[in-house]
Symmetry: C2
Subunit: 333 residues, 2 copies
DNA sequence: CTGAAAGCGCTAACAG
DNA sequence: CTGTTAGCGCTTTCAG
């Protein structure tokens, strides 16, 4: 009934617990005879022994857990990130705790410390810059996801520059010269991708204008769409870039509602890809980003910090991919 | 730098650690003078003391964590459940670990036990019945989500009977007499809602037929839609019931692709609601279910088990709600 | 009403 | 190459 302890393993193998412990932790300066080693290993499997992590944590201040912190569980943006993170964490023996974002990071870090959580991945799109720059002196390491802040190395990002290149090049190649981008002041992680987008636009001699949306939801996209398409405001604009998938879904619905035909009158392209993009009408052209890899690499980054190493900023090395579907076409002449 | 220990608190307050401990744990047979009590409480806040949960776990075999186990992180079905579960867990001082489903529940339970995870919530739609019935004799308690198995009390479900009543009544009131339901053999949790749906249909004298889909994804819905709508197979059917939202999204796209007009020629209604339902064309009529409450009540159920109590099956008491949108209308005469 | 003391299962420094 | 030992921070029984 009660779980097997290391003591029992040692007894069964006829050695001391310290031998078992050092074998399990691969202590480099342990030289063990193959015979006893085998006996210990045998005992471990025979008894189906599992180390008690609470005891280990008590001893080492090292609980073998990382936290994944999100501002909102219901926004599915991070599903793929967490999936990749979980898988990698599992491989290196860490468990993943999910938690809601508390703006007081110092307090959060202390809470985690007391729980045996060794580090945290932060989906901190809504945090003010000033809270984020002081990530270095928290009581546990934290890595910021998909957002860059000057002077901060504790970040892991996908390659928004490459993604923006893909999006702009696609539009420019189709002949678009005037693109509107949706923005959201509340989402600090947009700055990254919008900056990259605008910069690439300049080099392709594409003019960009900006419309402000009230968030990242489909509703925000819809409202913005109604506002823009409802008036006479489109002007020379022949394409719209949405920095988020749901924003594009809402925008598309607004286009439908106002009778603006996509892609005949207006092209729409979104950053990020998910199943839903294939099932809107028209299906959405998107730039697919390697979010699972982001999660995995963020775990590696965090683990390095936990092990007292000092990695530079992580940028995911898997290339973004353009998914051309029905929402983009050459502009009407 | 190092976290404050109970020792320091005791020292500061001029008492023994055991007093602090018993105060913190609200030991019933501790009578403490208000004066010392206050001194201790003061010391705790002054030093910003936080109990070391690893130490407590070691002592009590009780880590203050629960696991939320899903077959797949990227399917967003459980976002609201986990949100409600997390909130409730937080309120009672539990942390939530997320994990991927491993069909070997006994092994999982032992792994969790070694980690200080006190119990688990199981999104076990894909588990065979035989694995699920023996939930009672695992080394930690587990509660099955949204699925009922005869003889098993460790479940927490929303009220699919009420939800089905809502769906059928809506269709029947509109005048539909012949409804097709989408099913999926791989998803054992469908049986519950489909049974409820068919039973209510009988009492409203609505005929039901069944089409088998290959899963719960939009792609599955699309493929099924193409198969059904592409042929000459609709017959007398004037409405389709989808037991999952994404299935309906895909089905709608198939209707569009095959030129079947929704809701003029065919009504579509889905179980479960999410933002996307408002932004399809036409917008989807759905039955919204209280998934966050399900999460919260599942936590309560699990906590009762952890505390050695024996609750009966949990059924969420918040009523489902019909969200009438554009995808349902009276049948064409 | 409060203190002393043992020990949960494990790690790591040191001794043999 | 292996054993001894001293705790990590907390809970809990038993004495005062």
């Amino acid at each position: 009934m009660k779980p097997v302890t290391m003591r029992q393993v040692a007894q069964q193998a006829g050695v001391d617990v310290s031998v078992v412990s050092r074998l399990l932790n691969e202590d480099p300066r342990l030289s063990i005879s193959p015979a006893t080693r085998d006996r210990v290993l045998q005992a471990i499997t025979d008894l189906d022994y599992r180390p008690n992590l609470a005891a280990r944590a008590l001893r080492t201040n090292h609980g073998g857990m990382i936290a994944f912190v999100v501002p909102d569980f219901t926004s599915s943006v991070y599903a793929h990130v967490i999936s990749g993170a979980h898988q990698r964490a599992q491989e290196i023996g860490y468990a993943v705790v999910v938690d809601a974002l508390d703006p007081d990071l110092a307090r959060t870090a202390r809470r985690y410390r007391a729980r045996g959580i060794d580090g945290a991945l932060l989906a901190g799109a809504t945090l003010p810059d000033r809270d984020v720059v002081s990530l270095e002196d928290l009581s546990i390491p934290m890595v910021l996801l998909n957002r860059r802040v000057p002077g901060l190395t504790r970040t892991a990002c996908v390659d928004y520059a490459a993604a923006s290149r893909l999006a702009i090049d696609h539009l420019a190649d189709l002949g678009h010269r005037d693109v509107m981008v949706l923005s959201s002041p509340r989402n600090a992680d947009f700055t990254e991708r919008l900056k990259a987008f605008r910069s690439r636009a300049r080099s392709r001699r594409v003019t960009t204008s900006t419309a402000t949306a009230g968030g990242i939801s489909a509703q925000a996209g819809y409202d913005t769409g109604r506002r823009i398409l409802g008036g006479d405001g489109l002007g020379e604009v022949t394409a719209v870039f949405c920095p988020t998938l749901m924003l594009a879904v809402g925008f598309l619905a607004a286009a439908h509602a106002t009778g603006v035909r996509v892609p005949d009158e207006l092209s729409v392209i979104a950053m990020h890809d998910a199943e839903i993009a294939s099932f809107t009408t028209p299906a959405l052209t998107t730039v697919a980003l390697p979010m699972a890899e982001l999660g995995a690499l963020a775990i590696d980054h965090l683990r390095a910090l936990v092990d007292q190493r000092h990695p530079g900023p992580t940028v995911v090395d898997v290339a973004p991919r353009l998914e051309v579907r029905g929402s983009t076409a050459p502009p009407r002449t």
